[in-house]
Amino acid sequence: MRLVSDTWLVFLRSINQVIRNPLSILIGMAQPALYLVLFGPMLTSLAGVAGFPAGSGWQVYVPGLLVQLALMGSGMAGFTVLPDIHTGVAERIRVTPLSRSALLLGRVGQQVAVFTAQAVVLVLAGVLFGLRAPVGGVLLGVLLAVLLSSALAAASFSIALRLPNEYLFAPVSTLLTLLLLLLSGALLPLDLAPGWLRALAAANPVSHVVDAERALFLGHLVSSRTLVGTLVTVALVALCWLWGIRTFRREHR
């Protein structure tokens, strides 16, 4: 099918950049790794405090970090289209017969590949620090985070292409990801938050993903939290991909 082969070609060109700059993957991981090392130990000492969710500190914190990595990494994916617009690469590729959907999906694929590699390293690092969790749940947790990262990447590309100028992208995307992150409970469990903050967080789809991640890391493969988080993630993927495809189909800068 042409969409698949076109997506593969766009993926190949995008991943080429990463392969030639392997350091970029490590630098992208630095932030969550720093959280793991410099913030995680504080959090683990909170385990057992009244209101703290079930499980060890690491079982609470590592799933949150996965979501944080998706937000900080794939949420910033739009930065990678800006140079392509400058150099005329984006325009050159738009004159080729490649499917417009593939222009989005191939780029999303590249982000997902990088994210998956980072997520695996992050979980393994978590194990070194003392994370103990059911393997099946962890694998499903990583898969859910991968899906979330694909939705965030598609949304980020759309924002980058739709903003009237490129200088807006950094402040807009930073603000959005920070808002999504703070209201997700990824850093500190929302169980510790006052009611109004929890109500706000409930409106943030990412908070439901974090809930599902934590349930999965406890081995609760079938639970209301897992179910809701999965449905929210699938809905996010559908909406963001559609929005992205619409963006790549229209004329843009």
């Binding site: 080429n16 050159r92 080729t96 017969p97």
Partner: protein
């Protein structure tokens, strides 16, 4: 190869709508090398971007390489090559990678893409540069790479936006030669925009002059110059007044002026008027010291049509 009718494009800007192209008709035959000449902002690039499917026309229709622009943009994309003014290669990608990926984007299988890349590199003298990142190329080399990128799928039509803007004279001449070769060897139809008079003059079979979104004149560079102001003839003679009288009787001669020993006048075609002039002067027993024919430049043409020089913005 390209047929457009009443092609128009309006942009909605915060300051109100801007009519960038206001109804352009084009008829370009297979194998023609046609130049779109006009000042910056005349609508050249907008027209090109419509014909290459990058912009949707707000009005009008066009058929490019046999495919309707609106109904079958993918068909158009398959059959055309497009080289934007600034090129379009990733600065840190190796030349070889960019060429091969571009060929694969047009559906060539990997092995064929590699051989096509090598073939084009040979043609454009890029073989020794294949492993370099494109950022390491000189301006002329990068422009040759841009052309090669536009040709990986052997398109029927090649669109070039300001192909030699910013190049040194040597690289420009080199590029012109390659564009001519392209047409001669592959029969590629070439449609280019330029705001350089010499480029339109030296390179193109036919020039379309565009100003403020409309085509104001078209023809071969020679036709255009002839139809507008004709040629200027300057002769010097000790009997200037008598010479001026003879010159004034030539068919189509006008604006005859005498300054000291020099007589200056305009005729539609100086090269064919000259033999008659010399014969008549001889019969009138007027002796000449010198005679010169000046062809008008395309800038004279543009000035006559619009009242402005091409260089002005």
């Amino acid at each position: 190869m390209i047929k457009a009718r009443a092609l128009a494009r309006r942009f909605d800007t915060p300051a109100g709508p801007v009519e960038a192209v206001r109804g352009v008709d084009l008829d370009i035959a297979a194998g023609e090398l046609v130049g779109f000449l006009g000042p910056n902002g005349a609508g050249k690039t907008t027209t090109l971007r419509m014909l290459t499917t990058l912009l949707r026309p707000t009005q009008g229709s066009a058929v490019v390489a046999g495919c309707d622009l609106r109904a079958d943009p993918v068909g158009v994309r398959r059959r055309i090559g497009y080289v934007a003014q600034g090129g379009g290669t990733g600065p840190d990608y190796p030349v070889d990678t960019e060429l091969r990926m571009q060929a694969r984007f047009y559906g060539l299988p990997p092995a064929q893409a590699a051989s096509r890349a090598a073939e084009l590199a040979e043609w454009f003298d890029l073989t020794d540069l294949m492993a370099l990142p494109t950022a390491a190329l000189s301006g002329g080399q990068r422009r040759r790479l841009d052309l090669a990128m536009g040709l990986v799928h052997r398109p029927a039509v090649l669109f070039l936006d300001e192909p030699t803007a910013g190049l040194d004279p040597h690289s420009r001449a080199n590029l012109w030669e390659r564009i001519r070769d392209l047409r001669a060897d592959l029969g590629t139809t070439v449609f280019l925009t330029t705001h350089y008079l010499d480029e339109a003059d030296v390179l193109c079979d036919r020039v379309l002059v565009i100003d403020q979104g409309r085509i104001v004149a078209q023809g071969s560079p020679d036709d255009l110059k002839r139809q507008v102001s004709g040629d200027t003839v300057v002769l010097t003679s000790a009997q200037a007044a008598a010479a001026a009288e003879v010159a004034g009787r030539l068919p189509g001669a006008h604006q005859v002026s005498v300054a000291d020993t020099a007589v200056r006048f305009h005729v539609p075609a100086g090269d064919t008027a000259l033999p008659t002039l010399l014969r008549e002067l001889d019969q009138a027993e007027v002796e000449l010291t010198s005679v010169q024919v000046h062809r008008p430049t395309l800038d004279d043409v543009f000035r006559a049509l619009t009242g402005r020089s091409l260089g002005q913005d």
